[in-house]
Amino acid sequence: MARNVTKGRKIGTTILAWFVGLVIFFPILWTFLTSFKTELQAISIPPVFVGFDWTLENYATIQTQSNYFHFMANSIYLSLGSTALGLIFAIPAAWAMAFSPTKRTKDVLLWMLSTKMLPAVGVLIPVYLMFIRFGLLDSRLGLIVVLFLINLPIIVWMLYTYFKEIPGEILEAARMDGASLRKEITQVLAPMAVPGIASTILLNVILSWNEAFWTLNLTTSNAAPLTAFIASFSSPQGNFYAKLSAASMLAIAPILIVGWFSQKQLVRGLTFGAVK
């Protein structure tokens, strides 16, 4: 887009764009600032922007009072566990669909996509009852399986679109060169597929980390991840803005950073390859 625009126009655009960017980012920025205030400063009228006594107290309190790391650990378990499980199932499937397509491959892919469109409430009741029945309610294992299943179609799709870009002739060349199926996968396909797999992992971790239907409905405390932990602030006692902010920052910071690094892949994953 870089065209010769006049300096004046460029400065005008800069001001407008930064204004829009900051307005959109403001709630996050404000939460960030508030997390370093005392509870009193957090609700001071008029609000203070940066001229307050910065404190780390809230972050300390969050941990000691609410066992924050327990929830954090659950979030990590759930997102990594469901992602790992997803890859184990999706890599072979996507590999097969990309490199040995049959007439039905397209139908299978679209069908997988359509399962993603099944609204959660359509299956909530039986899953909920089965979880009660098998003692899976509030268990990490149960939730890992559910998150794995709801994200599996996206993982398969994303990997599929990446694998599709690896020219089949290269795998044929490997086959002519005497590579066994295992060598073909480990020495030729895998190194070429690493970037695609990495993006898939990123996207899936983001989606699982932020999932807030199943995690809220199927956990109470033991397996509750950060989404549920934060939800517990919805009926607060006393002063809590600063602590809510600190907890929120801790909950979103890791994913915000991961997300910033994976913008491009995100577009592709979330649109099932329809927009690259």
Binding site: M1, A17, I24, W30, I45, A96, S100, G122, L124, L149
Partner: protein
């Protein structure tokens, strides 16, 4: 490539993923369908007589359902209007040349990574609280009365929160589409004497139309299932002013223990989602051939 050996291997590699998804889709859905015909509550789970379509007629004639249906539509359409409209404008802005493009990009997409419960609570307390919220204080400072968002305009509040979360998604995808528009095309149009507005109207917008469709369809899928944002802000209230179908169904099951009615609601939600899904699957399927 397609030798017999690789073909049977391929089938074996696809099988696990296909089978687990098939089970995940069919078993619970069949059970939901079955439960929806029973008089089944968690308080008396041992007597679950068959009642045919009674749950459906109960659910569909319940004024709360009709309200929830209307709220769902308002929520989906409202968020779509804001995100698509805003997304186009912001994408056009970010497509310009200015200082700090990359940083502004990061700022704009950030809300997408904020988990729904955090987004909702931050907005409810720190933005929209009538006394301490930033918006309230801003209004007061220019001499206007603050609004009690969650009580007075609960649905609008939720629309705003959800739109804030999804605006980055729309922007990012539309921007990606915009950047794939070749300079040549625009320059050719300029040579033909087209003004900026007509270039946008006749070249840029048609080029983005597919991305816009994708944004609308994918967001609709997710927006139909908005749940956490309602749970932690208004809890569907006051009354049922901000209850959507997803929230209503979850509430029927987990709060009231009415499995039969909740299942009927779930089936209704499935039907609604399917209407959208058909379009989306078609669109993406076409894209597969290309």
């Amino acid at each position: 490539m397609a030798t017999l050996h690789t073909k049977s291997a391929a089938r074996a590699m696809m099988a696990p993923a296909v089978i687990v998804l098939l089970i995940w889709m069919i078993v619970p859905l069949a059970m939901t369908l079955y439960f929806s015909t029973l008089n089944y509550t968690l308080y008396n789970p041992f007597s679950t007589p068959f009642v045919g379509f009674e749950n459906y007629s109960y659910f569909l004639t319940d004024p709360t359902f009709l309200a929830a249906l209307a709220n769902t539509l308002v929520l989906v359409l409202g968020v779509l209007a804001i995100t698509v409209g805003g997304g186009i404008l912001i994408a056009l802005l970010l497509d310009q040349d200015f200082y700090g493009v990359n940083i502004v990009r990061l700022l704009v997409i950030a809300p997408f990574f904020v988990m729904p419960t955090v987004a909702a609570l931050v907005w409810k307390n720190m933005m929209m609280n009538p006394v301490y919220g930033v918006i309230g204080q801003l209004l007061q400072s220019i001499g206007l009365a603050p609004i009690d968002w969650m009580t007075d305009v609960p649905l609008l509040s939720i629309v705003i929160i959800v739109a804030w979360q999804w605006l980055p998604f729309a922007t990012l995808i539309l921007l990606t589409a915009l950047q794939s528009l070749s300079m040549d095309q625009k320059e050719a149009a300029e040579m033909d004497g087209a003004k900026a507005l007509s270039i946008f109207w006749y070249i840029t917008l048609p080029h983005m139309s597919r991305a816009i469709t994708v944004v609308i369809l994918i967001q609709t899928i997710f927006l139909l299932s908005i749940y956490a944002e309602i749970l932690v802000t208004t809890q569907g209230g006051p009354g049922s002013q901000s209850t959507n179908i997803t929230y209503l169904v979850a509430q029927q099951a987990t709060s009231y223990g009415d499995i039969g009615a909740a299942s009927a609601g779930g089936i209704v939600a499935v039907i609604l989602a399917n209407i959208v899904a058909i379009f989306l699957v078609r669109l993406i399927g076409k894209n597969l051939d290309a």
